[in-house]
């Protein structure tokens, strides 16, 4: 029996009774649980982020006017009213204590006054005598509505609105809406978050009835087709981000057009043609370092070089474009800066993709008598292309979401004209989000959230395009 207790037991240990296995499996279990937990934390963080944004893109709102509607509508002159009508107005509007004092001061109560006395009393004793006979907007005829509009906005704006759609062809409701938004500056005075609005609507409506008895209220989305298509304005209710969307897209396209050819070419050269020298390893190290430089530094660089030193070029003045901007704060400056920012990313990913191509493919091509160039072009690049696209995807996503360098390089926070080319002043979505998020007022948070969603969708669309392209390339191999 002693033999069975030596280091190599003759009898195998009973399965299920090996303490060492159980201990090792327990450690493996902990390890696995730890990995899973990390994943859960990441997913929860993402979901919370998305919910927080979603919560702001819609919800119950209460509207109020910045301007009292009664001050802009035409009113009936008091002289045209009859005596009983004037008496009624006086009784309704002259403060009771003043009414009581009338017999003493004027020698008679309101009831006995003549028409002229009533008119004088109304003028003297009420705060806004003109609005007392004001005709509500709803009672006005179409021409009168147009006249109200004409009297209260600038001629330029009036003509602009007319050229968008002639007033004669607009319906009554449209005209009233126009007056509400253009003249009365109808604005949201209180908002509720989306989920609260969806799940406890009766409570909110009750609160609205209590606190804002006369105001309009509704459930509204902040992310609407108008929000995407409209010009930028100062009012969150009617503003749009078309200019910023176009700016972002134009800037990213220009950035890609600059950074991808340069980055891919540099990556190919470093990996396939440069060979191994001390200089090359220094360059290599610095490319890795550059990819970690804070983006604001690229902004400073862009400001110094592209905006200031090369201002004549980046404003387009040197190319004789008509009506150039006064400085280099243009899309091309921003794109050049962004291109510098994402170049290391693209170079490194290109190199990694090329490194992953088996040497045997190159050998096979060279052995047929192909030149190095033919080998790289025909066999290395097609195989490396999907990997290189990964770098381009990362670079694009980075360029489209980056804000700090653009603040320095000079994206405008408020601009209403669409970018027309690389030499236009511009704004971009992250810039808008940043400027809205820093403004006071709940509604600016709402439109910032809506703009974030738009930005996310654009990033996803760009990435989706690249991923589809990548899968196609993979398939064609």
């Amino acid at each position: 029996m002693a033999a069975t207790t030596t280091s190599i037991p003759a009898q195998p240990i009973e399965i299920g009774a090996d303490p060492s296995v159980r201990r090792r499996q327990r450690i493996a279990g902990f390890g696995r649980a730890g990995l899973f937990l990390s994943l859960i934390i990441a997913i929860i963080a993402l979901i919370v982020l998305l919910l927080d944004i979603t919560n702001k893109i819609g919800g119950m709102v209460v509207y109020g006017y910045k301007i009292d509607p009664l001050t802009i509508v035409p009113s009936i002159p008091l002289e045209e009213l009859t005596e009983p009508e004037l008496l009624q107005i006086a009784k309704d509007n002259v403060p009771p204590d003043r009414q009581a004092a009338m017999p003493e001061e004027m020698g008679m109560p309101l009831d006995e006054m003549s028409k002229d006395d009533l008119i004088n009393t109304i003028y003297n004793e009420t705060p806004n005598p003109d609005t007392l006979t004001a005709r509500p907007l709803e009672t006005l005829a179409d021409q009168e509505l147009v006249a109200v509009l004409d009297n209260n906005i600038t001629d330029a704006r009036f003509n602009q609105l007319n050229s968008e759609q002639p007033f004669e062809t607009r319906s009554r409701e449209e005209l009233i809406e126009l007056i509400e938004s253009e003249v009365l500056l109808e604005s949201v005075v209180k908002t509720w978050p989306l989920f609260e609005s969806l799940f406890s609507r009766p409570a909110i409506e009750e609160q609205i009835r209590r606190d804002f008895p006369d105001s309009d209220s509704e459930f509204r989305w902040w992310l609407t087709p108008q929000f995407i298509l409209n010009d930028l304005t100062t009012r969150p209710e009617t503003t749009g981000i078309r200019t910023a969307i176009l700016g972002s897209i134009l800037m990213v396209m220009t950035t890609i057009a600059i950074a991808v050819p340069v980055g891919v070419a540099a990556g190919i050269y470093l990996e396939e043609f440069a060979g191994k020298s001390r200089l090359n390893s220094i360059i290599q190290t610095n490319i890795y370092n550059l990819s970690g430089v804070p983006s604001i530094l690229y902004g400073m660089l862009g400001l110094a070089i592209f905006v200031r030193a090369l201002g004549a070029l980046t404003s387009g003045a040197a190319f004789g474009i008509p009506d150039p901007p006064p400085n280099g704060r243009t899309i091309i400056s921003a794109s050049l800066t962004m291109a510098l920012l994402i170049l290391p990313l693209i170079i490194i990913n290109t190199q990694e993709a090329i490194k992953a191509v088996p040497q045997s493919l190159r050998d096979g091509s060279l052995a047929l008598g192909a030149t190095k160039w033919q080998t790289v072009w025909n066999h290395v690049l097609p195989v490396a292309a999907p990997g290189m696209l990964t770098g381009i995807i990362l670079g694009t996503a980075r360029a489209i979401g980056e804000t700090a360098p653009l603040i320095v390089v000079g994206a405008a926070a408020y601009i209403t004209s669409d970018p027309r080319g690389p030499f236009s002043s511009f704004t971009v979505l992250p810039m808008q989000i940043y400027s809205w998020a820093s403004l006071p007022g709940e509604t600016f948070r709402n439109i910032a959230a809506a703009a974030i969603v738009v930005l996310l969708v654009i990033v996803i669309l760009f990435n989706l395009t690249a991923i589809i392209l990548r899968n196609r390339l993979r398939k064609s191999l």
Partner: protein
């Protein structure tokens, strides 16, 4: 050649080699023409000498096998013949390699031009990441970029037929070359090589990644190809060297780790009455 490698026991190699050689009708007195010649070839990786004054010929339209233990420089020697070593930084040679009497390392000779005349098949099948058709067409188009489609089709088909892989691939020319089996891939690579009409084909252990059936097919193919091409083959498989080659070069590693040529002779002689003890020990499997 009806026996498969697995049935050939090592002690019977000598007898086996004899039958193969005599069947091919090689007589020692036959007039042989030098196709490739390594002349006191030394090869360096930086300061390390990988080959030491190797001298041996590869005769025209014959198969020459290079055998020897691992690390003795067989592959390095083979890759010198089409200047593939040029792609490794820091290599240089001393001595000469001539192709039809012309020094392929002469200053005015482009390695790319050498490789057109001296093709190579690698140890691991390495079809391009392209369709079967394009695998073959790539090489042809290198030299005839504007060849009409019909002529190109003909050349591709001819190359695939010469490499006896046409029947395997004729219905799937658009499929990727990597989708074929290992043996088919290797024959595709041979087809790719002969499509550009080289004069010499270098084979670096072409069957080491293949099963015996595929190996046999490639060996049969080599015997066929020998009618048109000069073939050099590096192999670890003694039976393969005995079966397919006309001449054999025996290499070994010297104490300073440089590879040197021990013996070069007709395959039959190497396997039956080698002059050097090392060769005899090696081919009979006593070591190595």
């Amino acid at each position: 050649m009806t026996e498969t490698p697995s049935t050939v026991a090592v002690p019977s190699i000598k007898a086996f080699a004899k039958t193969v050689a005599s069947a091919d009708g090689i007589a020692p007195s036959e007039a042989l023409e030098n196709k490739l010649l390594a002349d006191k070839l030394s090869m360096f990786y930086g300061n390390f000498r990988a080959l030491a004054e190797v001298t041996f010929p590869a005769y025209d339209k014959k198969i020459t096998a290079i055998i020897g233990p691992s690390g003795c420089g067989k592959s390095t020697l083979l890759r010198s013949f089409n200047r593939m070593n040029d792609t490794v930084p820091g290599t240089h040679i001393e001595g000469r390699i001539t192709l039809d009497g012309e020094d392929i390392y002469a200053p005015d000779v482009d390695a790319v031009a050498v490789r057109r005349r001296v093709g190579m098949v690698f140890q691991k099948p390495n079809p391009f990441a392209k369709s079967i058709y394009d695998n073959i067409a790539f090489g042809i188009k290198l030299y005839n970029p504007r060849m009409p489609k019909t002529e190109l089709d003909g050349r591709v088909e001819a190359a695939l037929k010469s490499a006896s892989v046409w029947d395997d691939v004729k219905d799937k020319m658009k499929q990727p070359g990597t989708a074929l089996s290992g043996g088919q891939q290797q024959r595709l690579c041979i087809a790719r090589t002969i499509a550009v009409a080289p004069e010499v084909i270098l084979m670096d252990e072409p069957c080491s990644a293949l099963d015996p059936v595929s190996t046999l097919k490639i060996e049969e193919l080599m015997t066929e190809l020998k009618k048109e091409f000069t073939i050099l083959i590096v192999t670890h498989n003694m039976q393969q060297a005995a079966r397919v080659s006309d001449f054999t070069a025996m290499m070994m590693m010297r104490p300073d780790r440089a590879g040197e040529m021990v013996e070069f002779d007709e395959t039959e002689t190497i396997f039956t009455k080698p002059k050097v003890k090392f060769t005899e020990d090696y081919v009979t499997g006593r070591f190595g």
